[in-house]
């Protein structure tokens, strides 16, 4: 099960989606919505205590998704683990058959449901990519030899609409240097902004998978603009959702439209539906995928 790696090695337009592990042990819903994605996506991202809200772990959930016949992208944040735990979890992921890792710093604990927690951040995303590269070469981050190396495909994230953008671009370059092979972007609603970013990104030998976030209502769009860093939903889209009698359907149409716009600009799309994962097949269908 290595569909993402295969897709990265060809010119195929890459499709990834996201699965949020449940807050609890009932995995039925997650597995149901991911099973709908079979044959439709190249890989499924498994979020790691997303927004610092404690949930089922991304390692366990990635393994389940793998068992259900999909290629998982194991999201790994630096917020909750020190360098020993991170490397140890990566080795565990490898022996469980997981082959893709998305290296993330992670949201601050202040964002989530355990604000009293001690945030770790022993290392961060750029260093995490270096660590994975090192494990792939058969060594731990201190140069000690491993009994069996890893073979991870490494991903990272970038925010094309960050304000200011320059420090974000400098960090993007560092992530490439540290070994990132593909990038999944924060949701971008302005195709021109994505084009601008791609002018820079094209100079680097990495695949860029554009972020698509399903808008469910005008209210949600305003919430994203107010509270989610790096996301800007243009007024035209908010108006379109506002006027719509069935905003969710309109949101699905917007997402499908965006996928088509991104087709000629980036190397793929990453569809995030946050809680409405079962709508992803419909979005893809409407986009003609």
């Amino acid at each position: 099960m290595n569909t993402l790696k295969n897709a990265l090695e060809t010119d195929k337009f890459i499709i990834t989606a996201e699965a949020g592990p449940p807050k609890g042990t009932d995995v039925q819903e997650m597995l149901h919505s991911t099973s709908l994605l079979k044959e439709k996506v190249d890989a499924v991202n498994v979020t790691d205590n997303q927004s610092s809200v404690m949930r089922l772990g991304s390692l366990g959930a990635s393994k389940l998704i793998l068992e259900h016949g999909l290629d998982p992208i194991y999201q790994l944040t630096c917020r909750d683990r020190n360098r020993l735990a991170i490397q140890s979890d990566l080795l565990s992921a490898h022996v469980l058959g997981i082959r893709n890792v998305l290296a993330l710093t992670g949201d601050h604990t202040q964002a989530g449901d355990h604000k009293q927690a001690k945030p770790v951040f022993d290392i961060e995303s750029v260093q995490l990519l270096q660590v994975i590269s090192t494990l792939n070469r058969g060594m731990d981050m201190n140069g000690n030899l491993l009994k069996g190396k890893t073979e991870f495909t490494m991903g990272a994230t970038v925010t094309p609409e960050a304000d200011p953008i320059e420090p974000q671009i400098l960090k993007f370059e560092k992530k490439v240097k540290a070994g990132a092979q593909f990038f999944q972007t924060q949701a971008v609603y302005d195709t021109k902004k994505m084009e601008e970013f791609m002018e820079t990104a094209r100079h680097f030998p990495v695949k860029i998978i554009g972020g698509i976030l399903l808008l469910k209502s005008a209210k949600m769009a305003r919430f994203l603009n107010k509270f989610v860093p790096g996301i800007r939903v243009p007024d035209e889209l908010i108006n379109e959702l506002e006027k719509s009698e069935k905003p969710l359907e309109t949101g699905i149409q917007i997402a499908a439209r965006q996928i088509n716009e991104f087709r000629s600009i980036c190397d793929g799309v990453h569809v995030m539906a946050i809680g409405m994962e079962d709508k992803v097949p419909l979005i893809l269908e409407k986009a003609g995928i």
Partner: protein, 220 residues
């Protein structure tokens, strides 16, 4: 400077349960600047303790109680009042509290919470800029500490949580600049953006293992 904030009086009184005779030790340096442990603050606290039914046997405001030897000397003159006490209430930082617990065989109770090593921006305004991490990194940022000024202590640039130059933990009531935007602007100003491009290795936290110590050789 060590920044302290007085605990609520109810918490202080609760910590002194069953201890009626109290001796107070304050600090005329950091704690005085923070209005927690100088002479004025200590006397104010004494009045509150009396209202709560406590008997104050005496008090001493020392010039930096973190200095163990000097504190030992300064407290000698208060021996009688200290002997009469059931507990010592410290209106200075946690380090000072532990100097006193090293010197006096009495239970020590803190009247303040010790917050951080702070810079005084102006009178009464304290800002944290150094985490005392054991290996200073501000050379590659031209003078801004990412370990302390970035909420996540990142060494290689801003995270995805940066928004319009602000940190993701920033709120309207408590605005926090993104340290990495500040560092970027500073490096750009000095034409040193190349420094931003170097990947900084994972921090060596073994440079500072708690409890740390430093013993200088005597100069001849």
């Amino acid at each position: 400077m060590i920044v302290t904030k007085q605990k609520p009086i109810e918490e202080i009184v609760k910590s002194l349960e069953g201890e009626n005779n109290i001796f107070l030790v304050g600090c005329s340096v950091c704690a005085d600047e923070c209005q927690t442990g100088g002479e004025t603050a200590t006397k104010e606290l004494i009045e509150k303790l009396k209202t709560s039914g406590k008997n104050v046997t005496g008090f001493a405001v020392i010039n930096a109680p973190c200095h163990v030897l000097l504190t030992k000397k300064d407290l000698k003159v208060h021996k009688e009042a200290i002997d009469k006490s059931d507990a010592i209430l410290i209106t200075a930082c946690g380090a000072c509290a532990q100097s006193v617990s090293e010197i006096i065989e009495k239970p020590v109770r803190p009247a303040s919470n010790t917050l951080f090593l702070g810079n005084i921006e102006r009178h009464g305004h304290f800002h944290e800029h150094c985490s005392m991490c054991g290996e200073c990194v501000i050379s590659f940022t031209d003078g801004i500490c990412p370990i302390t000024n970035c909420a996540k202590g990142l060494l290689n640039g801003p995270c995805g949580g940066m928004n319009k130059g602000k940190c993701e933990i920033s709120t309207e009531e408590r605005p926090v600049d993104c340290a990495w935007v500040l560092i970027y602007e500073r490096l750009k100003k000095f034409n040193h953006l190349e420094k931003f491009k170097n990947i900084q290795p994972a921090k060596n936290y073994s440079k500072h293992i708690k409890p740390d110590r430093l013993i200088l050789e005597r100069k001849k």
